[in-house]
């Protein structure tokens, strides 16, 4: 509710209004410096808002920070571990502080699930970057909070590890946690998030389901049709007349590109028309817009690839 954070004269978060529904995974997308981390820090009561406030499970983060904090677990972007402790000690201590029943058993289970069991006696500072990150995620998984905040959960993690963590995040949601997932990886948001919020320059640009966001780009879907013979003008003009087609271009005389929304619903109509006109077709390719396109549409910028971790192809 009008959540704002200023550091001196720098406006990090600018009157953010966003509602996260219970039991959903909300993907928070934005480039570095978009204000994602500051917003999450305010939500988890680590820093105080300059203006406005937020509620977590009905508790105001300004008036009842302790109660809000009891509901929240956060896995930070950069692992924040006790470097002179082992993963086993870190998770045990975290579980105890967070009031987890049977902390030792819970810690053991999570360490095994995240393939950290063999490294449980190593000092945190001796772990690889990916392992440190997994210990950071393990803290939230061992805590099983009502509201879990995960900031770039799979950064520095290999592909198989990413799938494993995504699965854990989904199962955390399935057990009733609400999850806020801040990420630079569009594919990660696309795979996991029930809704996606896009932030840029401290402001919320849009928030909706990935499907609705993709559909919200006028002419975002693309159908590529390759013909057996050069396509006639009549076919082109009749296709342009179909309601819902935003634009149409001939890439080559035998290659047509159609821009539209909801391509899967429009394709039968297009096929019917081409069949009526006895146009021979070699191939049809359909492509829906990616979250990259959505991000570009709403922010006018693309997410810098160097900000995201390499890895997993889009679904």
């Amino acid at each position: 509710m009008g959540l704002t954070k200023k550091y001196g004269s720098t406006l990090a978060v600018d009157h953010l209004n966003l509602e996260v529904q219970e039991g959903e995974i909300l993907g928070l997308l934005g480039p570095n410096g978009a204000g994602k981390s500051s917003a999450l820090m305010m939500l988890s009561t680590i820093i105080k808002p300059t203006e406005g406030t937020a509620e977590v499970g009905g508790f105001d983060v300004r008036k009842n920070p302790y109660e809000a904090r009891e509901l929240i677990g956060i896995a930070f972007q950069e692992a924040k571990l006790l470097w002179m402790n082992t993963p086993w000690e870190i998770l045990n201590w975290h579980a105890k502080v967070c009031g987890v029943k049977n902390p030792r058993q819970a810690a053991e289970a999570i360490l095994k699930e995240l393939n950290l069991w063999d490294a449980r006696k190593k000092l945190a500072l001796e772990l690889s970057g990916g392992m440190k990150k997994r210990v950071e995620i393990a803290k939230v998984l061992v805590q099983r909070p009502k509201v879990a905040i995960v900031d770039e959960p799979t950064a520095q993690i290999d592909i198989s590890g990413k799938y494993q963590i995504w699965e854990k995040i989904r199962s955390l949601r399935d057990e009733g946690s609400t999850i806020i997932l801040a990420t630079n990886e569009l594919s990660e948001a696309d795979r996991l998030a029930d809704r996606v919020a896009i932030m840029c320059h401290g402001r919320l640009r849009i928030c909706d389901t990935p499907r609705n966001l993709k559909d919200s780009i006028p002419g975002g879907d693309v159908i590529d049709i390759r013909f057996e013979t050069p396509v006639e003008n009549r076919a082109v003009s009749e296709l342009k007349g179909i309601a819902g087609i935003v634009d149409l271009a001939l890439v080559k005389p035998t290659h047509m590109r159609i821009y539209l929304n909801r391509a899967e619903k429009m394709l039968p109509k297009i096929m019917q028309l081409l069949s009526t006109l006895h146009v021979g077709i070699n191939s049809i390719n359909m492509k829906e817009p990616s979250l990259d396109d959505v991000f570009f549409h709403y922010t006018g910028t693309i997410l810098d690839e160097t900000q995201a971790t390499p890895g997993v192809p889009s679904p």
């Binding site: 550091y7 820090m41 904090r69 571990l81 002179m84 402790n85």
Partner: protein, 245 residues
């Protein structure tokens, strides 16, 4: 507290080094200098007790340095995210800082008590309470300054200066009666003076050379309450304000 105590045990080499320093200070320098002091009966005990409290001070002050290390590692943010109140967090750290210096000094205190022959449980308990109360207050002071100054360099300078003055302008190493006028006056505002005098009083030292124990106790309580309360306030304001980020 559990976490702070674990970190003490992990730094075994530092522990041994500091014990060695205290033993040399009391065992060699203390013995030598006490032979020079003839105007005061039993100066050796006076000096040794002062060194014990001084060392407690220098160990307890490390709580503040740890806050800077934690800020560098981003660990402060993790602590702030835990479901514990800010009061619990600061007081927990202060109590642990006090307990840590207490545990650190306990072997030396035990040996010293055996040597001077003070084994009365009530007296020993009073002495230990005085020491712990002081270390608790110093931890609170250290947290207050660390969080208030917001700069590791500034903290280093202030602590260095404070360490020099707080020891020299106190009755840790020499009684008030032998100090020049202005220094004697300043020593009356120094919690180290009262902590060492209360410790000495508990261990039967000649009361003529000490501050009134009731006054010493009151000053100590005010000291530890003031700085722990200030620590909670400043911790909440500065760290949650985000100005450390």
């Amino acid at each position: 507290m559990e976490r702070d105590l674990q970190s003490l045990i992990r730094h075994k080499s530092i522990l041994v080094m500091r014990w060695f320093f205290v033993i040399v200070q009391i065992g060699i320098f203390g013995l030598a200098v006490s032979r020079l002091i003839v105007v005061m009966p039993n100066y050796y005990n006076y000096y040794a007790m002062g060194v014990i409290v001084m060392t407690m001070y220098s160990v307890a002050i490390f709580t503040g340095y740890e806050i800077y290390d934690e800020a560098d590692d981003g660990f402060v943010e993790y602590l702030l995210s835990l479901p514990i109140t800010r009061r619990e967090l600061v007081l927990g750290r202060s109590l642990a800082g006090g307990l840590r210096s207490f545990i650190f000094m306990s072997p030396i205190i035990a040996v010293f008590l055996l040597i001077i022959g003070v084994l009365d449980p009530l007296k020993v308990l009073t002495a230990l309470v005085a020491l712990y109360g002081f270390a608790f207050g110093v931890s609170g002071l250290s947290i207050t300054l660390a969080v208030g100054l917001k700069s590791g360099d500034r903290f280093d300078i202030i602590m260095g200066a404070l360490d020099a003055f707080i020891v020299r302008l106190s009755t840790a190493l020499y009684p008030q009666a032998f100090m020049p006028g202005p220094i004697a006056t300043l020593s009356m505002f120094n919690p180290l003076s009262y902590a060492t005098d209360l410790f000495r009083w508990s261990l039967n030292f000649d009361i003529r050379f000490l501050a009134n124990p009731a006054v010493a106790l009151i000053v100590l309580v005010i000291f530890l309450m003031t700085f722990n309360f200030a620590g909670v306030m400043i911790y909440e304001r500065n760290l949650e304000g985000g100005s450390w980020r």
